[in-house]
Symmetry: C2
Subunit: 294 residues, 2 copies
């Protein structure tokens, strides 16, 4: 395993033309230095795709730049329609630290990539989350409000006018995110909404937890759909137990849970150690971890 | 990560002279083909050491042979005393399949290593567990009864006389073993013994579970000390829940648990998925697993 690894979870405003997404993937894979594409998902309702790739910092930065370049060439937002909010052809590009990398490393890569995107492609850039240049730009939603009409909403690099066909690009750095849903044995979506409100950070619940209550109409269940933005501060098992406890308080059982996308092994190790009440757990007790170190 | 990995958990009858154990470790590391020593433990009461090493099959076989050779040269059982039963300088040498290897691969390595040990070192060999040549030799304890007085107890290779200073060597193949203890909030060791009897395979409990009740005098607790010999058949979390349930039935709480040695990641992934009630869990959802495959 390389000594330092970065992940990039790039979102593009194309979820219908498979050839375009394939071209972006090829561009990523063509980056020198060894980039692995771990996942590639297309959603035609959202008209959006998400490509997750991993590698050493320089290789991931090069892959991201090539991906953005291809998206700018192939995607014309003037012809684009979809239910998801979007601002650019290469819409949102966060860099995430994995083994041996820090959030600061990812901020540096995000900033450098942003400069290149404006200089080489003429696409203005907003920086968000840890890469934001001001506190009010940390939230992705706030960057989406940007535009050239209001100078306070101007891009961080380039502009103020957006690129005619490719809009702007929102580039950032963040910790790894866990998308985790808990399904409730009830068709009453209000129960899921109440639990979501109780546990999420924005309503005074647990820090680093975003949550929504949704209906799962096809299964006759309600779902608490969550993003955990810092599982080391607010662990997966703590969130699961909180949902279970809140559901029980409302007389509702858990039907099951789902992990969306990929989950870091540490979140599972921590959950196992918690439930097994393991007194001496540390990552080096795991055979495969010991092997990777040796 | 290599395409096929084997583990060897070699037990030597020397737990007091660090220089001897260090010489055995050096012999292992000198094997061609890349062997990693993951753990090395010495126990002076038992006068015994355990060295765990991993690598591609040929390299691990070569490392094991060199280790046995060094132990035969450096350890004289005629001068040996300790509380642990032992039969040889290189006492017990099991091979364990890890990624990409099967138990049959390990049987082949065990048999070949046994032939070499007799041919090159003049030390007779017993084969145990999956490498046993007859069902009554599968249990390690049965091999320990061996000796040259009774031809029915003769070694599988070489002999019938044991090596004058190095005795015999018991070589085998087995699945990976999880050593796991659960500590009970009681100083009544009988509770731990009752639970051990209830859950272990030998008294009609769960298959692939060995268990003993022990006092933890220094902490004023009782302990259910277990070996899980096939965690894929009888998972770690199933065993933990059974101990917890049996303890609760006796009005006793769990103080905590301990993992002894190393644990395969799959046992923890399975436990986490179980407790989190994850409907869609599979190993490929773990970021690091996906990376290793890519």
């Amino acid at each position: 395993m390389a000594s330092s690894l970065i992940e990039c979870v790039a979102n593009f405003s194309e979820g219908r033309e498979a050839a375009v997404v394939a071209a972006i993937e090829r561009a990523i894979r063509s980056a020198a230095g060894g980039v692995s594409v771990l996942r590639s998902e297309m959603d035609s309702d959202h008209n959006r795709s998400v490509i997750t790739f991993v590698g050493p910092p320089d290789a991931v930065a090069a892959g991201a730049l090539r991906a953005i370049e291809t998206a700018v060439e192939r995607i014309d937002l003037r012809k684009h329609a979809g239910v998801h909010p979007r601002m650019g052809a290469a819409d949102v590009v966060p860099f995430v630290p994995l083994e041996g990398a820090t959030l600061d490393d990812c901020v540096a890569i995000a900033r450098q990539t942003g400069e290149e995107v404006w200089k080489r492609l003429g696409v203005p850039v907003y920086f968000y989350e840890a890469a934001a240049k001001s506190p009010d730009r940390r939230l992705l939603e706030n960057c989406r409000r940007g535009g050239f009409e209001d100078p306070r909403l101007a891009p961080d690099v380039g502009g103020p006018a957006l690129h005619p066909s490719a809009g702007a690009c929102i580039i950032g750095a963040r910790k790894i995110l866990i998308a985790f849903n808990v399904n409730l044995k009830t068709d009453d979506v209000q129960v899921a909404r109440d639990i979501a409100r109780k546990i999420r950070a924005s309503s005074g619940g647990m820090p680093f937890v975003k949550a929504l209550g949704l209906p799962l109409a096809d299964r006759g269940l309600a779902q608490v759909s969550m993003n955990l933005t810092d599982f080391e501060q607010t662990p997966l098992h703590v969130v699961f137990d909180a949902v279970k406890r809140e559901a029980a308080a409302r007389g509702v059982e858990i039907a099951g849970s789902e992990i969306i996308g990929l989950i870091p092994k540490k979140a599972l190790e921590d959950a196992a150690a918690h439930y097994l009440q393991c007194e001496n757990f540390e990552s080096g007790l795991v055979l495969e971890n010991r092997l990777a170190e040796s």
